[in-house]
C-alpha cells in the first residue's frame, strides 16, 4: 500500500472501490505472481493467474471447496482468475456481503456439474469433500437421501436454487448451541 506505483485510470479505481478495498487486494493478487502481473493496468491487460496459485493462498488452502470456489468465480470456469474475478471472489466471501448473495454463490459452489441444480451426485461429492472421505458409502448414501427428503420441495429429485435458498434462510445465523462443533 503506497510503496509501489500502481497505475490505474481514475475510472477504474472509481469503479472498483465501491465493492472491495482495492489496493490491498491488488497487492495480494500481485504477490501471487509478481512476474505475471504488471503494475500498469490502464490498458486492461489480459492476465490470468492459474488455479494452482490461487489455491495456495492461505485463506483458501485449507478449504475443502477451494477448487469449486475458484471455478465458480473464474471467467473460464477452470479456476484461472483475472483481477476482476479475484476481486469478485473476495467481495462475496467477505463479511460485508449480503446473505442472499452468499447463498446464490454457495449454490453455485455446491453444484459440481454446473447444471443449475444440485443433484445426488453433487451432494455425494460435497459430503466427501466435507468429511475427507471418512464416512462409509452407506452412510454417505443415507445422508444424501435425508438431505433430499428435507430440502427438495418440488420433488424432482434434485435441489433448485429456490429449494436451496429456502433451507439456508432458516439456518441458524449464530451457532450458539452448546455442543456445536468448533
Amino acid at each position: 500500500m503506497g510503496n509501489k506505483q500502481t497505475i490505474f485510470s481514475a475510472q477504474q479505481l472509481d469503479a472498483y472501490q465501491s465493492y472491495v478495498p482495492f489496493q490491498r487486494l491488488f497487492s495480494r493478487y500481485r504477490d501471487l505472481a509478481p512476474q505475471l502481473v504488471p503494475l500498469d493496468y490502464t490498458h486492461q491487460p489480459d492476465v490470468k493467474l492459474p488455479y494452482e496459485l490461487i489455491g495456495s493462498m492461505p485463506e483458501l488452502k485449507d478449504n475443502p471447496f477451494r477448487q469449486r470456489i475458484a471455478e465458480v468465480f473464474s471467467e473460464d470456469g477452470e479456476g484461472n482468475m483475472t483481477l476482476d474475478d479475484f476481486l469478485d471472489m473476495f467481495s462475496v466471501l467477505s463479511e460485508m456481503a449480503p446473505r442472499d448473495l452468499k447463498a446464490y454463490y454457495a449454490f453455485k459452489i455446491y453444484d459440481f456439474n454446473n447444471d443449475d441444480f444440485i443433484c445426488k451426485l453433487d451432494l455425494v461429492k460435497t459430503l466427501n469433500k466435507l468429511t475427507r472421505n471418512e464416512l462409509t458409502e452407506d452412510e454417505v448414501r443415507m445422508v444424501c437421501e435425508k438431505v433430499m427428503d428435507e430440502a427438495d420441495m418440488d420433488n424432482d429429485g434434485r435441489l433448485s436454487l429456490e429449494d436451496f435458498q429456502h433451507v439456508i434462510v432458516r439456518a441458524p445465523e449464530f451457532l450458539r448451541y452448546r455442543h456445536t462443533p468448533q
Binding site: 472501490q17 460485508m96 449480503p98 475427507r132 455442543h179 468448533q182
Partner: protein, 730 residues
Amino acid sequence: MNRTPVKEQGRGKERRRSTAKKLKPGTATGNVFGSTNSSQPQFHPCLLLDMCHYFKQPLCPCLSSEQESSEDGDKEGEGEDEEVEEEEEEVEKEVRPETLTPEELEKLKEAVDDKKKLIQALRGKPWPMKKKHSTLRESQEFLEKYEGALGKGKGRKLYAYKVMMNKKWMKFKRDFENFTTACIPWEMKIKEIESHFGSSVASYFIFLRWMYGINMILFDNIGTVPRAEETNAMDFAVLWDFGGYAQYSVLFYGYYNSQRAIGWLKFRMPLSYFLVGVGTVAYSYMVVIRKMARNANETGGGDENSFNFSWKTFTSWDYLIGNPETADNKFASITTSFKEAILEEQESRKDDNIHLTRFLRVLANFLVLCCLAGSGYLIYFVVRRSQKFALEGFENHTWWERNEVNMVMSLLGMFCPMLFDVISALENYHPRVALQWQLGRIFALFLGNLYTFIIALMDEINLKRKEEDVVQFNMTMWEASLHNNTADNSTAPPLFTHPADVPRGPCWETMVGQEFVRLIISDTMTTYITLLIGDFLRAVLVRFLNYCWCWDLEAGFPSYSEFDVSGNVLGLIFNQGMIWMGAFYAPCLPALNVLRLHVSMYLQCWAVMCCNVPQERVFKASGSNNFYMAMLLVILFLSTLPAIYTIVTIPPSFDCGPFSGKARMFDVIQETLESDFPAWISKVFSYAANPGLVLPFMLLMVLAIYYLQSTSKSYKEANVELKKKLQMVN
C-alpha cells in the same frame, strides 16, 4: 425471504470503520452465509480488510462544486460506498428547480430515487464485476446530472454518524463476547476433546468443570468461619492417619471451641458453624435445581430438527479457517457430528422382534439384580468381619485386614460396572438409553456401598460414646481429687492446669470427619491408579508390543480403551455426595475436593487425548445433562439424610467442637432465640412450629405443585401444536 437492508451492510464510512481491525484469536468466524461467534481462533486480515485509508480520500467530485449538490454528493458517496480519486471534468447541465413543472419534478425525483436504490442494491446483485461497473457508471452519471436540481435533504451526515456508532457498538459487543468466552476456564481443551470424541465425552468434562465451580463456592463459604488462632503445626507423616496435631487443627470439627462469642466481634461461633452447614446444603440444592430447570428450558425450546442434515451439509464448514490444525479439528468435528446424526437416524428406523427383545431385557435385569445382591452380601460380610477385628484390636491384623472394607468397596466399584456393561449387550437399546440404564445400575451398586459404610460408622460412633462416658467419669474423679488437694489453702490462687494435661474425651465428630477424609483420599488414589494402569499402561503396551506380537493388538484384543463416560460421571457424583455428607464434620473437605477436581481435570484431559480412542458409536448427549443433574439431586438428598439424623439424635461430645455440652446440636438455635432476640420472636417461632400450622401449610404446597404441574403440561401441548402449525405453513 429476509433481505437484510443493504444500507446496514457497509455503506461508505461505516464499512470503513467496522472493517478497520485485525481479528485476534477468539473472534468471529463464519460460514459462507454469515458470521458465527465461536471461540475458535485463527484468522488473518485479508477477508476483513483494512479500509481506513479511504477516509483520507476526498469524496465525490460533486462536492467540490458549490451548489446544494455538495450535500447530495455526500449522500451519493454513502450510497455508492466509494470515493473517487480524481475529479471528473464533466460539464454539468445546470438544471434549476424553477425550470421544471411540478409533475416533471416528481418524475425526476422518482427516477433519482430509483437510481439510488439501484446503486445501493448493486452490492447484493450476483452480477460479474464488469456488469456492475457499467451499471454503476450509468447511474452515477444520471445522478450527477439531475440530483443537483432537486436539492435533497440535510441530516445525512447525522445519519451516517449514527450508523457508524451503531457499527462500533456491534463491534464492541462482539469483542466483549469473545473476551468472555476466552475467559471461561478450559474452554479450548474441552472444545478440542469435543471435536475428536463427540459431545457425550465432552459433556463429562463440562460437568466436571461445573462441579469445580460449586466446590469453590462451598469452600469459600466454609472459609468464612473465622479462625481465632493459628493452626497447630502439622506433622505430615502423621497426616495420613489424620491423627496427631491435625486432629486438633482447623481442618476438623473438634478444633472449634464452644465459646459463645469470640473477640470483639462477639461472633457466635456455634451458631455460625451450624448456619454455615445449613447454608451450604441449601445452596447446593438451589444450584442443582436451578440448573435442572435451565436445562429443561433449553432442550424444550431449541428443538429445530427440520433441516438437520441439510444444514450440516451446507453450512458446517467455516470459511474463515486459515490454519491447518484448526482445519483438521474442524474436519474431525464435522465427521463426528455426521456420525452422531446418522446414528440417531438409524436408531429411529430400527424395528425388530419385540418378544425376543423383551425376553432378553428381562433376563438382563435379572442377572443384574443377582450381581447387586451378591455384592451387597459381600460387603455385609466384610463389614461384620472388620467389626470383629476392631473388637480384637487392630494391631493383631495385617494391613489388608485392617483396610478390608475400603479395598473391597473399591474393587467392587471397578469390576461390577464392567460386568454390567457386558450384560447390557443383551438389551440392544439406543446407546443413550443404554447409558442411562448403566448409570442407574452402577448407582444402585454404589448406594449399597455407601450405606454399608455409614452403618459401620454408626457402630464406631457408638463405641466412641461409650468411651466418652468412661472418660467423663474419670475426669470428674480427677477434678475431685484436685480440689481435695487444695481444699486446705482456700486463699491460694486458683489452680492452673496446663491445657495439655487435661485429659480430653474422644471426639466422635472428628473421628467421623477423619473417616470421610480417609475414604475420599483412598477413592481418589484408586481412580488415578486405575486411570494410569487401565488406560495409559494399556495404551503403551498395545503400541509397543504390537511390533512383536502374533495378532494385531490395535485392532483386536485388547486395543486402546474408550473413554468410560458413565463410570466417570458416577464417580464424580458419588464423590460429591461424600463431600456433602462429610462437610459438616470436616470443613476442609470442599477444599480438598477443589484440589482433587483441579488435578483430575488436567489429568483426564491429557489421558483422553493421549490414550483413548473415540467410541465406535458416537451419540449426542443432549438429553443426558438433566439425567446427571437428577442423579446429583438424589445423591444430595441421600447424603444430607445421615448428617441430619446425627444432628438430631446423637448428643455431641462433651468437650470438643462448637456444640459441646449441649443435649442436642440444634439446641444452639433455641438458645440464640431465647437470649439474643426480643421475646416476641421466640413466641412467633413457637407458634410457627405448631403442628396445627405446619400441616395445612404442607397441604397448600402440595396443591400448588399439582396446579403448576398441570399448567406446564398444557403449555407443552400447546407448544407442540403451534410447532406443527408452523411447519405446515412453511
